[in-house]
Amino acid sequence: MAIEISIPTNISQAKKYLKKKFTPLAGGTTLLLHRQKNIQLLDLNKLNLSYIKFQKNSVRLGAMATISGLLEEKKLNKIFGGLIPQALLTIGSTLNRNMITVGGNIVGIHSWSVLPGLLLLLDAKIKTIQKKSYPAKKFFSQSPKKILQNDLITEIEIPLIQKNAIGGWQKMSLTETDYPLVSVGALKLDKNIRLVAVALTLLPQLFEVNSDNIPDEIDAIVPRVKISHDIRVSIEYKREILKALFMDVIPTD
């Protein structure tokens, strides 16, 4: 088994190892779960990417910030009516959240990854070491690994332009910390409501409804949502859960 670990301390060093096809190592949970062998690892721990910075119209999250780190940031918890902590608390357990990183939860995308859906909802931008900036809609239109050839996420930027936007997040799972059967988020912006569904297919799915006629709009959306096979419950059952969660998650003023 051939393993090599490199631990760069600055972005230039990291870029050199990426060119040599080293695999980025963020929190490490996905790597160890998949028990990969014969691998060259690029440990991102010393790149100073675990920041949370508020600016006038946005908040910037370093790719190595942990989920727990985000939950401890009080200002982040207050915006969007508490949408962000509601979503983040559905990710695994406290022990998992102490290790899972922002970048890792996006790139190692699984059907249960919450952050891709949340960032899609919030119109976030994903920024990389090669100085590229992807709107979330583009980034999550395909597997992140396809976009990130010799590239690495360094930062997420969430705009704070709509100050009165409020949101919510709900997850349905067999136990409190289990992978979701269905997980949905909503963001209300004046008359428009964005809805996102995760854990149904590999990539999150985004929809928009008008707040004038929510039940009818949701009835129209639910049959269009793509749902992959899940050994735990049937597709039809997931569709019923989805309808109920969509109705429940939309914030009332």
Binding site: G28, N45, T94, E176, T177
Partner: protein
């Protein structure tokens, strides 16, 4: 490959057998056997240790990442005859049956009470949501955490 790590307030230079050795295997290989091997999947919490005060699943944490960090295992809290307040509370409330989850439960409790000595029941449940117990049904464990919190506040 060697790393320098502080384990239970003792600074040590220890060898990794493999770059991808987990912290669980590393600690158990160095006879910190209170760190239990449960699921190896980050689900059960039996392998919980504190890294710089934060509870993590050592089965999903690379040992090489522990370089320069402070690790606390159950061996670092109290000794037979001189138990830590949390360990004592677990005994007094009957929160220990087979004992396999107990080191992890106690370390997660320590992390909670170090930050918040007056947690609500919901906060206790959230702090311990990564530690599974098949024996007790959790009621006594939650009582133990509340008792430990009370005793810690009385000591301060």
């Amino acid at each position: 490959m060697k790393i320098i790590v502080t384990i239970n307030d003792e600074k040590k230079e220890l060898t990794l057998v493999h770059p991808l050795e987990t912290l669980l295997d590393f600690l158990r290989r160095h006879y910190y056997l209170g760190v239990k091997d449960g699921c190896r999947d980050g689900q059960c919490g039996a392998c919980t240790v504190l890294v710089d005060g934060r509870p993590i699943s050592s089965c999903l944490y690379l040992a090489i990442r522990a370089e320069g960090k402070h690790i606390t295992t159950i061996e670092g809290l109290g000794k037979p005859g001189n138990l830590n307040i949390i360990q004592q509370a677990f005994l007094e409330t009957g929160a220990v049956q087979c004992g396999y989850c107990t080191p992890g439960m106690i370390l997660s409790t320590k992390a909670l009470l170090d930050k918040n000595s007056q947690p609500t029941e919901e906060e206790i449940k959230t702090a311990l949501d990564g530690n599974l117990c098949r024996c007790t049904g959790y009621v006594k464990i939650i009582e133990a955490v509340k008792l430990a919190a009370t005793k810690i506040r009385q000591e301060r």
